[in-house]
């Protein structure tokens, strides 16, 4: 029985249960709602939840665990020499799964009957051609051993699905029966329902934890896999980044240093653009600008933060890059030949800087406004001008907060992807020249992982190692920045 059916049956039971339990409660009170402990809807809700919640919970767990169990079971039947190598194993298992899915598809489309699909032999039928007709493309001919495994896989899945239906429906009916029996006018239904809702709320809040766990585990497992195929020292200390594109060539050089250098270099350019502009904008808007100016300029600047990064990427690639070429490139206005292509560190850095202006300015704005007025008044009272007050009193007082804001902006810059993918070029270079093409950690994650389904070569797995470094760096910067900002806020509260 497919999972959707089970789901529908359980939901139907739960809806029927709601009405039944509500009526029973009302009946037990002789139709007098005031004799009930809780509102009638709580009795209904209690029964509905009893029918649905445990069953759906088991269904979810079952759907996650069954494939894992079957995978382990079937792959234990693989020949030992294939089982030993993780990459080969996952490839073989992918084949088995595809064939099994293909046979199921053939049955559902009427190309085979159920019985035919069970006894099909690779020696008699061209399984590959057959599956091709139902839209499942196989990479190679099907051999008898793989087909047998696929049949084992299908049989195990069928058995699993049958038990799934039996167990879940049984649980749903039983737990509904218990709830229904308990329903009478003295049953305290409300606390039950409310506790269940509270559990739901806690589960929702835990999604954040699950996400973090998911990120950390998916990064760590694949990174460990990567380091089992590639030396950690070579990754961290090599200065060459030259992945081979054949996929399985062992001669890739996956040095991390040029990528992190490019990342930091481009982020630096971005901060050099964004910090002065953002900071001065914040100062001007919060201390000097008249009300009408502020009410127009501030939202306009914040529009820059709402524009998707793909727009900035295109702006870098098609507008800023060619513009810079016209100035610094060959036949340019300056007559210098510093730039040989539109995509360069400075292109990406400049555009990223524009993107970060509102980020720096709105954070600094908050921080400058948090400096107590008494400090300013004191300074004015001593005869200081506005700018002297700002430079010598407000800014030093706000400095820790501003440093925090800059760190947050830096973490944004380091994690930014689309602008560098489109604007910075693809060559990994350890260079001090901002007019040269450079590449970053994020851009390489994209280029190593895009469109790849199987993770069994160091060239794809390296993306996870890059991902984990990126995660650690941005997380570290954020933690430090938030800590500084919080410390600073407490100072004036």
């Amino acid at each position: 029985m497919p999972a959707t059916w089970i789901l529908l049956i359980v939901l139907a039971l739960s809806a029927v249960g709601y009405v039944m339990a509500r009526n029973k409660a009302l009946q037990s009170a002789g139709g007098n709602r005031r004799a009930l402990h809780s509102l009638p809807s709580y009795y209904g809700g209690n029964a509905a939840m009893a029918a649905a919640a445990p069953a759906l919970f088991i269904l979810m767990g079952w759907m996650i665990l069954q494939p894992i169990a079957i995978d382990t079971f079937v792959s234990s039947n693989l020949p030992a020499e294939i089982r030993a190598v993780p990459g080969e194993r996952s490839l073989a298992m992918a084949d088995v799964r595809r064939i099994a899915d293909g046979l199921d598809a053939a049955v559902s489309q009427g190309a085979l009957t159920m019985d035919q699909s069970r006894i099909i032999e690779s020696t008699e039928t061209d399984v590959r051609a057959l599956l091709g007709t139902v839209g499942v493309a196989l990479g190679s001919e099907v051999d008898a051993a793989t087909l047998a495994l696929a049949q084992t896989y299908r049989a195990a899945t069928d058995t699993g699905n049958m038990w799934r239906a039996v167990v879940i429906l049984l649980v749903a009916f039983l737990s509904f029966a218990v709830a229904y029996r308990m329903t009478n006018k003295d049953f305290r239904a409300r606390p039950f329902v409310e506790r269940a809702i509270l559990l739901l709320l806690i589960a929702a809040a835990s999604v954040a934890i699950l996400t973090t766990i998911g990120i950390v585990f998916s990064l760590i497992f694949n990174t460990v896999d990567f380091f089992s195929r590639y030396h950690a020292a070579d990754f961290f200390f090599s200065t060459t980044w030259e992945p081979s594109f054949s996929g399985r060539g062992g001669d890739s050089q996956l040095g991390f240093l040029p990528l992190i250098w490019g990342t930091l270099f481009i982020s630096c350019i971005a901060l050099i653009v964004a910090v002065p502009l953002g900071l001065f904008s914040a100062i001007y808007l919060s201390e000097y600008a008249s009300n009408p100016v502020r009410s127009i300029a501030k939202p306009l600047l914040e529009v820059l933060a709402g524009i998707p990064t793909i727009v900035y990427g295109l702006f870098a690639l098609l507008t800023v890059g060619p513009l810079l070429m016209d100035v610094f490139g060959r036949d340019g206005v300056l007559g210098v030949t510093w730039m040989s292509g539109g995509t360069a560190a400075i292109t990406a850095g400049l555009v990223m800087g524009i993107m970060l202006i509102p980020f720096v300015s709105s954070l600094s704005d908050d921080i400058i406004n948090a400096v107590p007025q008494a400090l300013r008044d004191g300074s004015f009272g001593l005869g200081a001008t506005k700018s002297e007050t700002l430079r010598q009193v407000v800014l030093p007082a706000a400095l820790p907060g501003i440093v925090g804001a800059i760190l947050l902006a830096a973490s944004r810059a380091i994690g930014e992807t689309m602008i560098v993918v489109m604007g910075a070029g693809a060559a990994a270079a350890l260079s001090m020249n901002p007019f040269e093409a450079m590449t970053t950690v994020t851009a390489k994650i994209v280029s190593q992982l895009t469109g790849d389904g199987e993770f069994n070569s160091p060239e794809t797995l390296v993306a996870f190692a890059l991902g984990i470094t990126l995660f650690v760096i941005t997380l570290g910067l954020n933690v430090i920045a938030l800590w500084i900002v919080r410390r600073y806020r407490e100072q004036y509260e």
Partner: protein, 452 residues
């Protein structure tokens, strides 16, 4: 009192000259003040100039994508070419491939050029056909297959011109650049000029760009955003259906019920950190968990939606908590006072009052998710060309598709400059969606916001 009127004696006044005259030091200080102020104005100005430049680039480069050059040709649908057996059997008609239609188009073009009285060295219809999109034959074939009774008659077809001709009409291509282009020769442009004067070639509003599907790399004139818009739409449905209930439930727990303990702190730390994790890391998560581990279909909007949900949740939780916090405690106290349970006070009173704020935050979160590209690249929503419309709702969620920003990225990567124009045009469509969503959010806030 008299002391004040007495002329100061003793200590000599430190200041000489008139008060109305600024001393050099004061002048310096005032100049510094003015400079500082000007720096600030410049910073704001530069920021605004960047914004203006960005918008100008988008509008100037993107607007041409919304018009397209079409040519009207009179094609004689010869029966002996299209229906050799003469029995109008639809299966026989379908056997004639687009190659069978090309000679008809060639003849029609030769006639059109002759009619317009254009003198040209290009005489062969096959060469004239370079002016039309290579999809023109397919378009005529589709019409014929849908209406077999047209065979034997002469029909007017409005077909796409090639991207070079379109570029010439829009000023992107000129005779000089065509000299090095194998796809079209400058002599073609003379014909185009003649046909424009004749009214056969015209540039009209390009609805196909908004509703159409992506096309292959050699046919930019056919490419449209429609399928990618649908992909984005299905993704946003997933994000909305998952992130709104989960986000609101999580915020209610944290804001109203959570005890002060390590578990609560842990959740809060997680949420604030997730809000700052780079979006590409969520892409890695989606790839590893939803595709590698759970074997969900690659490139499907449902995977994109799930990934973006995880990314949007922290934003929604943060804004929802802010709007729950802004509901005054007196509301809760009043509800508790008349005998409501804690749960009832939250769900019957606090939540409805916080709803406008929650919706505003959700719309802004959705807008953010709509423009996100990087995670989609990792789960494969870009390698595919979005050439097929989804067949139904299930196929919309599960079949490989692209999304608006990913489609724009795909176009930007292609070599033909005609695709750059499409990419800019795509950005205009994307920004129109974002603007609408943000406007709705602002209107919601204006209309329903309550100050306590």
């Amino acid at each position: 009192m008299t002391d004040l009127t007495n002329a100061p004696t003793g200590a000599a006044p430190r200041r000489f000259g008139s008060l109305l005259e600024e001393s050099p030091r004061t002048k310096r200080r005032n100049a510094a003040e003015k400079r500082f102020r000007i720096y600030g104005m410049c910073a704001v100005g530069v920021g605004l100039i960047f914004l203006a430049a960005l918008l100008f680039a988008i509008v100037r480069n993107g607007i041409p994508a919304f018009t397209q050059t079409y040519m009207t040709v009179q094609v004689e649908l010869l029966a002996e070419k299209l229906d050799k057996n003469g029995n109008r059997d639809i299966d026989d008609i379908k056997k004639v491939s687009t190659f069978g239609y090309n000679p008809l188009i060639d003849t029609a073009l030769e006639k059109a050029v002759a009619q317009a009285g254009i003198e040209t060295e290009i005489t062969r219809g096959k060469d004239l056909r370079d002016m039309l999109s290579s999809g023109a034959a397919a378009q005529i074939r589709d019409v014929v297959i849908a209406n077999p009774e047209l065979i034997g008659s002469v029909q007017d077809f409005t077909v796409l011109t090639s991207s070079r001709v379109d570029g010439y009409m829009k000023g992107r291509v000129d005779r000089e650049s065509l000299a090095r282009d194998p796809n079209l020769s400058p002599a073609h442009l003379d014909i185009v000029d003649g046909l424009v004067a004749n009214g056969a070639i015209d540039r009209v509003f390009n609805l196909a760009f908004i509703t159409g599907a992506d096309a292959s790399e050699s046919r930019p004139e056919q490419a449209g955003m429609g399928v990618a818009i649908l992909g984005s739409f299905f993704m946003m449905l997933v994000v909305l259906v998952l992130s709104l209930p989960i986000g609101v439930a999580a915020s209610i727990y944290l804001e109203e019920f959570a005890p002060q303990n390590a578990f609560t702190d842990f959740i809060e730390v997680n949420i604030s950190n997730l809000a700052a994790v780079p979006s590409i890391v969520f892409g890695i998560l989606g790839l590893a968990v939803f595709i590698q581990f759970a074997h969900l279909p690659q490139s499907a909007p449902i995977v994109g939606g799930l990934t973006l949900t995880l990314m949007t949740l922290p934003t929604i939780v943060i804004s929802t908590r802010a709007s729950l916090k802004s509901v005054p405690p007196s509301i809760r106290d009043a509800a508790l006072g008349v005998g409501a349970s804690k749960m009832q006070s939250v769900f019957h009173h606090v939540l409805p009052l916080a709803m406008p704020g929650i919706l505003t935050g959700t719309i802004i979160g959705l807008a953010q998710a709509l423009g996100e590209t990087a995670p989609l690249l990792l789960i494969g929503m870009v390698g595919y060309i979005a050439t097929n419309y989804p067949e139904g709702v299930a196929s919309g969620f599960l079949d490989p598709n692209s999304a608006m920003p990913a489609q724009i990225f795909e176009w930007a990567k292609r070599a033909d400059p005609a695709y750059y124009e499409r990419a800019w045009g795509g950005i205009i469509i994307l920004l129109v969606f974002l603007l609408t969503m943000n406007l709705i959010a602002i209107l919601l806030r204006r209309r329903f916001e309550r100050r306590w």
